[in-house]
Amino acid sequence: MTTDESYIERIGNSRRRRFTKHLLLCLASIVMLYPLLWLVSSSLKPTGIVFKDLSLWPAEWDLSNYAGGWTALQFPFDLYLVNSVVIVVLSILGNLLSCSLAAYAFARLNFRGRKLFFALTLGTMMLPGHVLLVPQYIVFAKLGWLNTYYPLIVPNFLATSAFYIFLMVQFIRSLPRELDEAARIDGAGTFRIFWSVILPLCKPAFATTAIFTFISTWNEFFSPLLYLTEQELYTVPLALRQFIDSEGQSQWGQMFAMSFVSLAPVIGFFIAGQKYLVKGIATTGLK
C-alpha cells in the first residue's frame, strides 16, 4: 500500500466520520430541541385546545397569548422580568466573589480548621433543604428581611452555596501548583497570587458558576414565594404560577407564552456565557 492510498483512505474515513458525527448530533438535537418547539407551539394555541391538539403545528393559531399574557397579571410582565434580573445579577456577583475567595482558601491555603470547615460546607449540601426552610425563615424574619430581596441576595455574598465552592475548589486544584510557587518566588503575596494567577485561569469555572447561578436563581420558585409578599416584588416564576390554578380556569396559552418570554434571557445568557467556558489554560497557555 502506498502512502497516497492510505492518505486518501484517511481523508475518506475522516469525512465519513465527520458526516456520522453531524448526523448523530443532528438526531440528538431534535430530541433536545423538542421541549422548546413544543413550548412555542403551545404558546400559539388558544387555551381551549392546548390539551386536545397534540400536534406541534397548531391547528388553530392564537397570537394574542403574548400580548394578553403580558398584561394579564396585576403588573405588566416586564416588571417581573426586571425584578428577576436584579436578583440574578446581584446573585451572580455575590457567588463569584465570595465563593472564589473561599474556594481559593480551601484549595490552596493551609490554616487551622480548614478541613473541618470544608467538611461542614459539604455537609450543608447533603441535608435536604425542606427541613431548613423553617429555621431559615425565622432567621430572616428576626433580621426584619421579610418582603425584601435581602434573603434572596445577601446569602450569595456570604459564600453559602457549597456547590459553587466545591466546583471552584476542584478547578483550582487541577491547576498546576508551579504557577503559585513561581509567583511566590517572584514576591507575590497570597492575595496577589489569587488575583493575578488563579482567577484569570479559572474563567471556565467562573463562567460555569455564572451560568448555573443565572439558571437556578432565575427558576427559583420557593424562596421568593416564601419571602416576598407584595406582587410588585414578584419574580418571573411567581408570576408564571399565577396563570394556573388547579381548581380554577388556568390561562395555559398565556402561561406558555410568558414561559417562552422568560426563557429567552436564560438562553441568551447561556450563549453569551459559554464563550468563556472555552477560555481556560488551553487558550491562554502557560506563561
Binding site: S29, N110, A119, V139, R177, E220
Partner: protein, 311 residues
C-alpha cells in the same frame, strides 16, 4: 459523627509524596479569605443544627417541640413507605447517575473539538436542563409520555402496545430515569469547562508519538479531567439522592402511581409539610445526610486511586 469520612478528603492535595511530606507553612490569611463564609454560616449552620435538634423532637410546626430521643429514627425502620422511598431513591440514583454522566462526558468530548457549529449544539444540548424549573414541564412530559404521547406513537410504529409511562407503577420510575438522563446539560457544561483546562499541547505531543484516540483518552483526558469527573460524580450523587422536583411534578406531589415514584425527599416533604411531622422529617433528613455522607466518603477514599491532582 457523620462527617467523619470527609475527614479523609484530600483537601490539601492528593496523595502527598514523601519528598513533599513537609506541610506548607500555616497561612493565616486563609481566615481572611473565608471571612464571608464565616458570616454566611449564620444562614446555613444555624438552620443546619436547628434541624439536627428537631430530629430528636416531636416538632409539628405549630407547637413547641418536645424531646423524644431516638423515637423518630426507630419509627423509620417500621415505616413501609420510608423503606419504599429508600428503594425508589437508590434505584433512581444508581441507574441514572452513571448513565447521565456517561452521556454528559460523551457529548462533551464530541463537542470539545473540531465540530462546526459548536456553540449551537452546546446550547441545544443544554436546553432540556434550562427548562427544568418550568411549570410548563409537567404538561410537556404528559405530552411526550402520555398514553397517546409521541413516545407511544413512535413505539407503535414498531408494533409495541401502548405503555402507561406515567400511569403504570412498573414504568413510572423508568420514565423519570429517562428524563434525568435527558437533562445531562449541567454536568456536560462542567465537563466542557474541564476539558478546556487540558493544554492542547499534550494531545499534539501524543499524536506525534502515534497514540490512538483511545490511548489519548485513557492517558491524557481521563487523568487530567479526573478532578472534574470526581466533582460531577459527587455532585450528581448528592443531587439525585435529594431528587424532589421531578418526582413532585411528575406525580402531582403524590409519589404515585402506587408510591412507585415516592422519592425519599418527596416523602420527607409530605411528612413535614402535609402531615406536620416536622420532627420526623428532620430525622429523615439527617438519616439521608448519613447515607449521602457515607457514599461521598467512600468516593473520597476511592478518589485517591484515580483522581489526579497536580502538585
Amino acid at each position: 459523627m457523620t462527617l467523619a469520612p470527609v475527614e479523609d478528603l484530600a483537601v490539601s492535595g492528593a496523595p502527598v509524596s514523601p519528598r513533599k511530606a513537609a506541610k506548607p507553612p500555616q497561612d493565616r490569611s486563609g481566615y481572611l479569605f473565608i471571612l464571608p463564609w464565616f458570616l454566611g454560616m449564620a444562614f446555613t449552620i444555624i438552620p443546619f443544627f436547628a434541624s439536627l435538634y428537631l430530629a430528636f423532637t416531636d416538632y409539628n410546626l405549630l407547637n413547641v417541640p418536645n424531646w423524644i430521643g431516638l423515637e423518630n429514627f426507630a419509627e423509620m425502620f417500621s415505616d413501609d413507605t420510608w423503606w419504599q422511598s429508600v428503594k425508589v431513591t437508590f434505584v433512581y440514583t444508581f441507574v441514572s447517575v452513571p448513565l447521565s454522566l456517561a452521556a454528559a462526558l460523551g457529548v462533551a468530548m464530541l463537542l470539545n473539538r473540531g465540530v462546526r457549529g459548536l456553540p449551537v449544539y452546546r446550547a441545544i444540548f443544554y436546553l432540556p436542563s434550562l427548562l427544568g424549573g418550568s411549570v410548563a414541564l409537567v404538561l410537556l412530559w404528559r405530552y411526550i409520555f402520555g398514553l397517546n404521547g409521541i413516545v407511544n406513537a413512535f413505539l407503535g410504529f414498531f408494533g409495541v402496545e401502548k405503555i402507561g409511562w406515567t400511569s403504570d407503577p412498573d414504568y413510572a420510575l423508568t420514565t423519570l430515569i429517562i428524563l434525568h438522563i435527558w437533562t445531562f446539560g449541567s454536568p456536560m457544561v462542567i465537563f466542557l469547562a474541564g476539558l478546556k483546562q487540558i493544554p492542547a499541547m499534550y494531545y499534539e505531543a501524543a499524536a506525534i508519538d502515534g497514540a490512538t484516540k483511545w490511548q489519548q483518552f485513557r492517558k491524557i483526558t481521563l487523568p487530567l479531567l479526573s478532578p472534574i469527573i470526581f466533582f460531577n460524580l459527587i455532585q450528581s450523587l448528592i443531587s439525585s439522592f435529594q431528587t424532589f422536583t421531578q418526582g413532585f411534578i411528575f406525580s402531582g406531589g403524590k409519589g404515585g402511581p402506587a408510591n412507585s415514584t415516592m422519592f425519599y425527599n418527596l416523602y420527607l416533604y409530605k411528612q413535614g409539610f402535609e402531615q406536620f411531622h416536622m420532627g420526623y422529617a428532620s430525622a429523615m433528613a439527617w438519616m439521608l445526610l448519613i447515607i449521602i455522607a457515607a457514599f461521598t466518603g467512600l468516593n473520597f477514599l476511592m478518589a485517591k486511586r484515580w483522581v489526579h491532582y497536580d502538585n
